[in-house]
Symmetry: C2
Subunit: 310 residues, 2 copies
């Protein structure tokens, strides 16, 4: 049976990259195994970034080399520049299972782009155009995330028409999927629904994905607005991982458990199992030595006397 919705599990990459303490490669691979056990079929496993800037991702090649043989699962590597795409392509030469997708990143504003990636929007468009072509030529599914699409940590307001234009440029550049990211968790439902709908209309034929952070508790509301606007693919991280570990409760990505609860009780299938996700949450919380931010991870599904409430 075809699922209505698709979840892209980003906990091994976006969920962990801001963790100060290094998470061992074996733990990252065990996490990936748990995600597959939950039913995840697209998993962002690593970022090919400068290890001096993001030490947590220094083992990107080792993670890819250790990926399990998992038929039907697509593994994603994040690429912030051409060097990242080269590494993603090269990592496929390692023994065993290899990457299936290159996830590129275009920052929507000059202010954040210069600080995050050392490039303006115009430079980002040019770089991503090359990166997408190179990844595609190497046989990787080439997708791109437009970062800070709903608000910028340096410039504040981001003009939605500008984001629609960026999406069109990336579609023209051959992107096979385009994600809109609420990188700092400032979006509200009308805004997310309106922009998502406008992008879907503009780049008809290229699938749109939403990447939401739950910094202000609105990610589930925004996911629902995005669904209503036609989005069918959503990033999320087990446990809502991704927050700064030194700011208690400063949540990161929307929790996979939250999306499974939201969509599952709304009658929409994702192919992921919520009980397995809650169990994986508790297992990984023990590894991390602290509770994870997801609220569904703590409360569980709506279960009375051992029976799931329909």
């Amino acid at each position: 049976m075809q699922n209505t919705l698709q979840i892209v599990e980003v906990s091994p990459r976006d969920g962990l990259q801001n963790e100060k303490g290094f998470v061992e490669t074996a733990d990252k691979l065990a996490l990936i195994d748990r995600l597959i056990g939950m039913g995840a079929t697209r998993i962002e496993v690593a970022s090919f970034v400068n290890p001096r800037r993001v030490p947590q991702m220094a083992d990107a090649e080792a993670v890819v080399a250790g990926l399990p043989d998992a038929p039907g699962v697509r593994f994603i590597g994040l690429c912030l520049n051409e060097r990242g795409v080269d590494r993603a392509i090269a990592s496929r030469d390692a023994p065993g299972r290899s990457l299936d997708e290159a996830g590129c990143v275009l920052v929507a504003t000059d202010g954040f782009g210069i600080i995050n990636q050392g490039q303006t929007v115009a430079e980002g468009i040019a770089a991503n155009t090359l990166m997408l072509a190179k990844a595609k030529a190497a046989g990787l599914f080439a997708q791109v995330t437009i970062s800070a699409a709903f608000g910028c940590p340096y410039e504040g307001h981001v003009d939605p028409a500008h984001v629609v234009e960026l999406a069109a440029r990336m579609a023209d550049a051959g992107a096979q999927e385009i994600a809109l990211a609420d990188t700092i968790g400032v979006g509200v439902p009308n805004q997310v629904g309106d922009l998502t709908g406008a992008v879907i209309e503009k780049i008809a034929g290229v699938p749109v994905r939403l990447h939401l952070h739950d910094t202000r508790g609105l990610a589930p509301a925004n996911a629902w607005a995005g669904y209503q606007a036609g989005c069918r693919t959503f990033d999320s991280a087990l446990g809502g991982l991704g927050g700064c570990p030194f700011a208690p409760g400063a949540a990161g990505n929307v929790g996979t458990e939250e999306l499974l609860y939201l969509f599952g009780r709304s009658g929409l299938s994702t192919g992921l199992d919520i009980d397995a996700a809650v169990a994986a949450n508790h297992w990984f919380a023990a590894i991390m030595g602290r509770p994870l931010p997801s609220r569904v991870g703590k409360a569980g599904d709506f279960i009375i006397n051992g029976e799931r409430v329909a």
Copy 2:
């Protein structure tokens, strides 16, 4: 200027009633002062419940006696039975400011009603009919909350048609406002929107309020769905207070900060100030000796370089 939406601040009652450590009457009154300073104009200040069952509310009369003279602010006392209504009425004889509203409670299911209030739904209808009449005759604004309207901790699924019927019965009994409560935080947006809309249609003329818990992180999504269905009044608690203090992160009521962020950035006015709410959150967290669950309380409004992003 008329505000589009109304927030009922329930932190002094629903936010605190499950706290194991007794919150001093002076701290409760200081909290009420802060809520008024934030711009709250309706505040649930106490519950007239058996102090053996809810020790935290044992000082209900003392709280009411200490209420500030606050023109334009309406104070609510929760009444679970006729004795509660009698106490709410009697507390008005104390010196100083008195209560304005009696908040009655009708549990939507036999299973939860018998355990929570020692009565079936049929008995609850009869009791609330008397209670509403008595409160109204004494000059109190008489409103009622239908508890477990979106799911029951004992029976699970609650038939929405049953809740619509209960609302109609309470409207017939003279209720001046009817709230629908997601007591255990299991609702999802379509469900909340559909039932809220159905009740609004059924009891046309009687205002409908939503009381949402954020147990599974969906309260803001549900509030937005309720707004879209026509609801204009929402309960919330500063800091998302109301969770069990011994279950870290098991959130209680939807945070006032979350609703102010959601509605404020959606262009809807509530009359409450989000910065004052965030400051009050930090002030009360220090009194409670722990961070409060609200995410907006931690992250704050969308502010760049000291300026609020429009």
